[in-house]
């Protein structure tokens, strides 16, 4: 446990030194400020537009951080050879992967809290209301970010940094397009391929489940028990990717 904690602390220090975190934070803050202007231009429904843009910006930042930081986390350790020093100590490869993930997630969570505070402050100053539903949407985006980071670490455990970045973006796109498959299954327009579609649907994660922004912004009630299910779904995917990362990293010939 001490080894895992040491890897985690080291990752936190390393990530905090990464300028990308601050650039993305600045980008998000700038976009939230811009959303105020978008709100003004929309003639009316100003608060809805600000909420929409704020939440969308926070979601995009999760992808950017996962791609720019998550995928390089293992690659940089290998290219700088520091990984070999770490693994000669009493640190297992599992502890290394999980420690890296938790360290990165801690910094991203801190970053995310700063964004949320800024978003909430902007909204409150402009007369919007911060509701439990809005905070649920923020939480769901946070869980989605945790899943994307775990996927990025999984990809970087067996391939190069560039390919990991491409796979992570593809994972994000496929995860959001997966909803289209569920719509097709539901509407049964492709009656010939229901099994193929269902297999594809379950083989890919459905990241749209983390997207409750529409419901929150337009004050529609979330179904009962939706938020805990989304949390469990996210946790299951994070665990799956971490187990797969550990297996892949364990097989790696270092």
């Amino acid at each position: 446990m001490n080894a895992l904690f040491a890897v985690m602390l080291n990752t936190i220090k390393e990530t905090i030194r990464n300028h990308v975190v601050y650039v993305v934070l600045l980008f998000v803050v700038a976009l939230i400020v811009l959303s105020v202007s978008f709100g003004d231009w929309s003639v009316f429904a100003r608060i809805q537009v600000i909420e929409d843009f704020g939440l969308a910006t926070m979601s995009i930042s999760g992808l950017l951080l996962a791609v720019f930081i998550g995928v390089g986390l293992l690659g940089s350790e290998m290219s700088s050879k520091t990984l070999y020093h770490v693994l000669t100590r009493p640190v297992t490869r599992y502890q290394f992967i999980v420690g890296k993930y938790l360290g990165l997630l801690s910094v991203l969570a801190l970053n995310y809290v700063v964004m949320t505070l800024f978003f909430v402050a902007t909204l409150t100053l402009l007369g919007g209301r911060v509701t439990t539903a809005l905070l649920s949407a923020v939480l769901c985006i946070g869980v989605e970010m945790a899943v994307i980071v775990s996927a990025a670490i999984f990809f970087s455990s067996f391939t190069s940094t560039v390919l990991s970045a491409m796979f992570s973006v593809a994972f994000y796109v496929a995860g959001h397009l997966n909803d289209l498959i569920s719509v097709q299954i539901a509407s049964q327009q492709w009656a010939m391929f229901p099994i193929v579609l269902k297999t594809l649907y379950y083989a890919l994660p459905n990241l749209e489940h983390f997207n409750v922004r529409d419901a929150v912004v337009y004050t529609m009630a979330l179904p009962d028990g939706y938020a805990p299910l989304v949390l469990a779904y996210g946790l299951a995917y994070v665990t799956l990717f971490l187990v797969l990362s550990c297996v892949a990293f364990n097989k790696k010939d270092l």
Binding site: I60, L177, L180, V183, H209, R213, Y226, Y233, A236, L240
Partner: protein
Amino acid sequence: MKSPRGFIAIIAALAVLLASIAVLQNKLTSLSLSARVPKSMAYLPASDKIGPFFLGFKTAFADFLWIKTTLYFGGHLLSDKQFPWLIGMVDMVTRLNPHFYPAYEFAGLMVPDVCKNPQAAEIILQRGISSDVNKKWKLYFYLGMLYYKNFGDCRRAAIAIATAAQLPEAPVAKLLGVATAMMSKTQGEKDSRAFEYLMYSTSENPEVRRYLQGKLTRP
């Protein structure tokens, strides 16, 4: 993990994780928010098909497009008064975000008048009625107005307005009075002016109000 026991443990863990993911995914899909929105009447391809291509940002795109729509409308109203793209833009906004009331109001009040296309307005308004939109009574009211003014169908107009009167927040007495009058009268200039005034007084859109005010102050 090199021992068979470790290998079996990993396989078992993965099997449990995949099974729990499938169960959760199934449960979440059945609770899916998008599945609760009724199928819209498709003027162009339905929103449930185009929506996923925006990767979860369709309402943000809808907001952006709505801003472009208001700028487009304002720009052309001040210049050539030609709006070839207006219906498409409003239609797209409502397909990307079926809960966006302002676009429906705009479609109900402006599209029949400035685009001379009451059929498109009818379809967009019916989409709003079948979606989970606030102030739904106004959409029925605008639909009734559309049937009355543009289709000359007093009976359908009266039914739509009477339906509006039954919905929450509707001015019941006013609407029922109108519905009753519609049932008994035929379309005339005086009624048309009265309806324009009613539309003017119910609209929250400053652009629409300014436009209707201009029409109402004309002799």
